[in-house]
């Protein structure tokens, strides 16, 4: 199971800010994600990149700029499970990337190791997983269209429980 404590302290979203964002998304979620909502929900687009699904909310999605032809870039966000059941993020697709995978960086004895997460990312109830530099990230392999600072990247996440969640990520240089 993925620990919710990554990444390093300096990259973590301040708890108070996150709490505010979560409250905002929870309020908006009532309309957007009712019991009859379809399997795909289009969310996000606000300044703080809030996204809400029935039980999953995604906040502060951002991606590093990369010119077309670059090998890779990474996308980060905070995923909260506000429901009562465990949910698992299985897939991620970024528009403009040839391939998208979930990866995790770990640091041991000052050596950086990156590994794919083929089993996805488990988000337990009342937990926020923060994807950030030096930790878990969505890896874009094969940058096709190019992402420049100020752009927005479209990311579709596939959860076991919440289904498909579409998120707009800000393209910017740092978290």
């Amino acid at each position: 199971m993925i620990s919710p404590t990554w990444p390093a302290e300096r990259h973590r979203i301040p708890a108070a800010l996150l709490a505010i964002v979560l409250v905002v998304t929870a309020c908006g979620g009532d309309d957007a994600a009712g019991a009859d909502a379809g399997p795909t929900r289009e969310v996000g687009g606000t300044d703080d990149e809030s996204a809400a699904a029935a039980t999953i909310s995604v906040t502060d999605a951002w991606m590093r700029p990369a010119p077309a032809g670059s090998a890779t870039t990474a996308l980060y966000m905070a995923i909260s499970n506000d429901g009562d059941d465990i949910d698992v993020l299985r897939t991620a697709t970024i528009k403009g990337c040839a391939m998208t995978e979930l990866h995790m960086t770990t640091m041991e004895d000052d050596v950086m190791t990156m590994s794919p997460l083929p089993d996805g990312i488990t988000v337990t109830p009342d937990t926020t997983i923060v994807l950030g530099p030096g930790g878990i990230h969505v890896m874009c392999i094969g940058v096709e269209t190019g992402f420049t600072e100020g752009d927005r990247a479209t990311l579709e996440l596939g959860f076991d429980g919440a289904g498909a969640v579409v998120v707009e990520a800000q393209v910017r240089r740092d978290g």
Binding site: T73, A74, M99, D110, V111, P118, P133, G134, D174
Partner: protein
């Protein structure tokens, strides 16, 4: 009474001058990174730059040289480090003119000069990407105490490269001076580099 107040004012004034004006100049700099007391010059570098030219440390004589071992296929830690270094140089303002940042590729198979030319200057026009044969890079990493190892992974990446995340700083005299770990803030990096460049 007025006389005493006057003396108090003078004493407070002198203390302020000592604290803010004199002490920062005489107090030794406290480095944020780990200081290395080298007795010999930094090991020689002889690799190909992202502009296709052979480069050695002598090309940057009189500059503080930051050496980072990374690779372009790395989407997370490497760009985070290069972005932090760029921000540190921005914080330094004019002082950054005497600082050179070099990224030595630990993935020379993928990182040709052309690939590096697309990647490294995207962070800062003055950054230099270096590559060479696998043996050349391995030899350089060894003498700088840097570890790297290619590792096959499932999925589209094919393989990834584990590597030391810290970066090294060579001072203006050409001696290895400092090791800064991944995650050092741009402010702290700028503070150490400004001291060495000053």
């Amino acid at each position: 009474m007025t006389k005493i107040a006057g003396w108090v004012l003078v004493i407070v004034g002198l203390a302020a001058i000592a604290w803010f004006g004199v002490l920062p100049r005489v107090r030794p700099h406290i480095f944020h990174g780990t200081v290395i007391q080298s007795s010999t010059a930094a090991p020689a570098v002889d690799l190909i730059s992202h502009e296709g030219e052979r480069v050695s440390l002598e090309d940057f004589e009189g500059e503080v040289v930051v050496i980072y071992f990374g690779y372009t296929f790395c989407p997370d830690v490497c760009p985070a480090t290069l972005a932090d270094l760029d921000e540190a140089l921005e914080l330094m303002g004019d002082g950054a003119e005497d600082v050179r940042v070099i990224m030595v590729s630990v993935d020379p198979e993928r990182d040709t000069p052309e690939v590096l030319a697309r990647y490294v200057p995207a962070f800062n026009d003055d950054f230099v990407g270096l590559t060479g044969t696998r043996q050349e890079v391995a030899q350089l990493a060894t003498v700088y105490g840097v570890y790297f190892e290619k590792r096959d992974v499932e999925g589209a990446a094919g393989y990834l490269v584990d590597h030391t995340a810290s970066f090294l700083v060579v001072d203006k005299s050409g001696f290895l001076k400092l090791v800064l770990p991944f995650g050092t803030s741009p402010e702290d990096i700028a503070d150490d580099l400004a001291y060495l460049a000053g």
